[in-house]
Symmetry: C2
């Protein structure tokens, strides 16, 4: 069904409203849905420019029971920002101001539509940085990172986005405005609504302002890479590095296939071998820490370890950051399927890598594996011929089995990309029927009319079956 959204034209909004099809197409899909040629056209796109605009839209939509799906850079991977039931796409990209930096408190206030790198640069002007910035930091917004509880390469040392959000201004489904959290670095005052909003994918409220915590830039930064003959050794080395308490700021695994993809895409001259990219941050004693790291990896048959100069290392990190694009270019006959991200306790990291690669081989699927290894995090994507139905089915079998195995080992279906539409079917497996029921109760309490990003996170119900309209466009 579609919704009559003409009422938006009568609201006293500062931001624009568009009913143009080409504009609506732009907000119909996120990165993964667009790659798959799927999406849902919203009935209208609105660009609020202030909290007041968001309040006005939500009040009116709430009264009329019209779905509202927040949208920003559209870089999510699970359909999180797809307006599954049409209605209003609430595009936050014009609320993109850096509001205030308070260096004495290591705090930065931003609007949600600010790009990650812009926020990070505002911090850099004061010798600070935003540690959990994801690899997609130049392409995605702070608001998107918050509502998906994103994380990045430095999460192994510094934690995830949730750990660096102090306070949020949030507009709830009925248009009421709350401040969740505190500008104090710790609080035990009332319920922690801040961390309930973080990771809620726009289903509980719309973030209109965030106070982020920052960290001072370390005085010493060194990066390098270790090359192994066997992937298994590389994965075991990662586990041992973490278990031994080596203070790494980044530690990424690149499997041979991912390395090969990066070479073809960026001509980085990487060997087609399993590698660990690593970075160290310290104020003192970085050489001792690097030596400690080397001791550990030598016990796992490392073939070569090199500390690279800044320029070369920047090139390697760029190769890592752009692996998702490299996968698209790797083979003209194959496209990367649904990109997955699971996370397991670190002791299971070598197991999940073995499991994923063996399973892919068994099913004759090319499956590059990489990701934030030190967190027990694996990114993977099956390369598929979209015309080959049997191959698509095998890829889905592999994809699902990896998620299920991660959960069975005490891990999670999604370390950093949320549930969206793509992982709804695993929610109950991970959290149990009672857990999902408790989440539904919270959703009903804060959004009783189910207008905020409906059709996400929760397993599909029979009632909603007929409403889904994800289609090629």
């Amino acid at each position: 069904m579609t919704y009559d959204c003409s009422f938006l034209a009568d609201l006293p909004l500062d931001g624009p409203v568009s009913f143009e099809e080409s504009v609506r197409e732009n907000n119909a899909a996120d990165w993964a849905a667009r790659e798959a040629g799927l999406g849902v056209l919203p009935d209208v796109v609105v660009w609020p420019t202030s909290t007041e605009d968001v309040v006005a839209v939500l009040e009116a939509a709430h009264e009329r029971e019209v779905p509202v799906t927040p949208y920003a850079a559209g870089t999510s991977l699970e359909g999180n920002a797809v307006p599954q039931f049409k209605g209003i796409s609430l595009d936050m990209t014009r609320m993109d101001a850096v509001l205030e930096v308070r260096p004495d408190d290591f705090q930065l206030d931003v609007e949600p539509g600010v790009m990650g790198n812009v926020a990070d640069e505002a911090a850099a002007d004061h010798g600070m940085f935003f540690p959990p910035l994801p690899s997609s930091g130049k392409l995605s917004t702070i608001g998107g990172m918050i509502v998906n509880d994103a994380s990045g390469q430095q999460t192994v040392k510094y934690g995830e986005v949730a750990d660096w959000v102090l306070e949020l201004e949030v507009v709830l489904s009925d248009g009421s405005v709350i401040e969740a959290g505190s500008r104090a670095v710790k609080t035990s005052s009332g319920y922690n609504l801040k961390d309930l909003i973080v990771g809620s994918e726009g289903t509980l409220g719309v973030v209109t302002r965030a106070t982020l915590e920052l960290e001072g830039r370390p005085e010493q930064i060194r990066g390098g890479r270790a090359v192994f003959a066997e992937l298994d050794d590389a994965a075991e080395a990662v586990f041992d590095v973490v278990r031994s308490g080596v203070d790494v700021a980044k530690i990424e695994l690149i499997d041979p296939l991912a390395g090969e993809m990066a070479n073809r895409y960026l001509d980085t001259g990487l060997p087609d071998a399993p590698m660990i990219f690593v970075e160290f941050h310290a104020n003192h004693g970085i050489d001792e820490e690097i030596a400690f790291f080397e001791t550990i990896i030598e016990a796992h048959d490392v073939e070569r370890f090199e500390i690279d100069d800044e320029e070369r290392m920047a090139e390697l990190w760029r190769a890592r950051d752009e692996l998702a694009f490299a996968a698209q270019q790797y083979d003209p006959d194959l496209e990367p399927g649904h990109p997955g991200d699971v996370t397991v306790p670190i002791s299971r990291y070598p197991d999940i890598i073995r499991y994923a690669k063996d399973l892919a081989n068994e099913h004759d699927i090319l499956l590059p594996c990489f990701g934030h290894a030190g967190d027990g995090n694996v990114h993977y994507s099956a390369l598929v011929d979209p015309e080959d139905e049997a191959m698509l089915e095998r890829a889905e079998t592999v994809y699902d089995a990896i998620v299920e195995q991660a959960i069975a080992w005490g891990g999670t279906a999604t370390g950093e990309h949320g549930i969206g539409m793509g992982k709804r079917k695993f929610l109950e497996l991970e959290h149990g029927a009672a857990g999902v029921q408790a989440m539904r109760a919270v959703k009903a309490a804060l959004d009783p009319k189910d207008i905020l990003n409906p059709g996400k996170i929760f397993p599909e119900t029979e009632a909603e079956g007929g409403r889904v309209d994800l289609s090629a466009f």
Copy 2:
């Protein structure tokens, strides 16, 4: 009113049930209420020994709408565990097992009634520790720390309890059991119910098992103290140390009055002067970090800085840990009133110390100030003659004004002790009407019959006015 709890005798519980008055008296108050000679007798005390026991009690209480107030060591300071509306005191102290240590994953599974130091010692057997352990770690339980989102001296470096809880088993008000969180170090799967339960003071569910994250013991630990002539210099020094990014693992302010109390109580030979106690943790370069610290404090007219040997430092930390007891012994005519804890952004730390001390002087009240300075956290307590009504009134004025000023500066009414009964009146000032309304909606969603620790956190409503029964006993 009282509740007929005889149904408990018919439940198939493994743990004991007692209707004895002397037993019920024991669970009538927390530390602060007992000091004030206040409390509420529960109708019955039950000691569950398993999750199944907790489920059985909650199912039966839910059916009969009988209040259930979880209780453990009773060390809270805001009446958090006082069974304000009688009913069942659910005493968790017999669920006190250390269940499993998984050193490879830095994880420890415990039952909620385990004492903090016991959990920490289980970690120590594997060269690890539980970083956010509060100063009261030997007196309080892990479950109590979790539901109050406690923190401690090391929070300045390592974070609060919430940051070190990975997964919780929780029994909800109707007896359903959920697993909140994940054993993966990061997840963005569904709503973050784990951090909703943390700090919820037993009003949303009963924690029956916790997976804690641990940290490896640093190779270098050094402690010392800095003595100042002026309190203002000491407070400004703390701010500057934090702002400058000195890597301190503990940094505590002791005002001259608190120092004097410690001397009388433990004969520690501390000067009656403002002091900073500090500790450093590192694997390399601890001397450079200490030198950096010294540079900063020298700019704030420090009179003396000494690194103490391990034994002396242990004595000093003990003096710090026992300041609450020292306050009780300081003057036979004066008793410490309601102990307060507020937290402000660090740039406001010198301001809040000045504000508190000046206000106390103006009102002729002795007000020792100490606490986890590096977090912007102030502990304070007015020393009062309980027979002197005018003095009690002045003390309350000072107490309230400090909380209100902390909130006005972007801080919080409670950094680590929760709202309980004592700080209900500040909840709306801190979170706004809409924020409190959202919290009430969450409470109603998860505990629709309001049986779990009723009368806590939320501002008193007219309807409940007649039910309150906090009295001398």
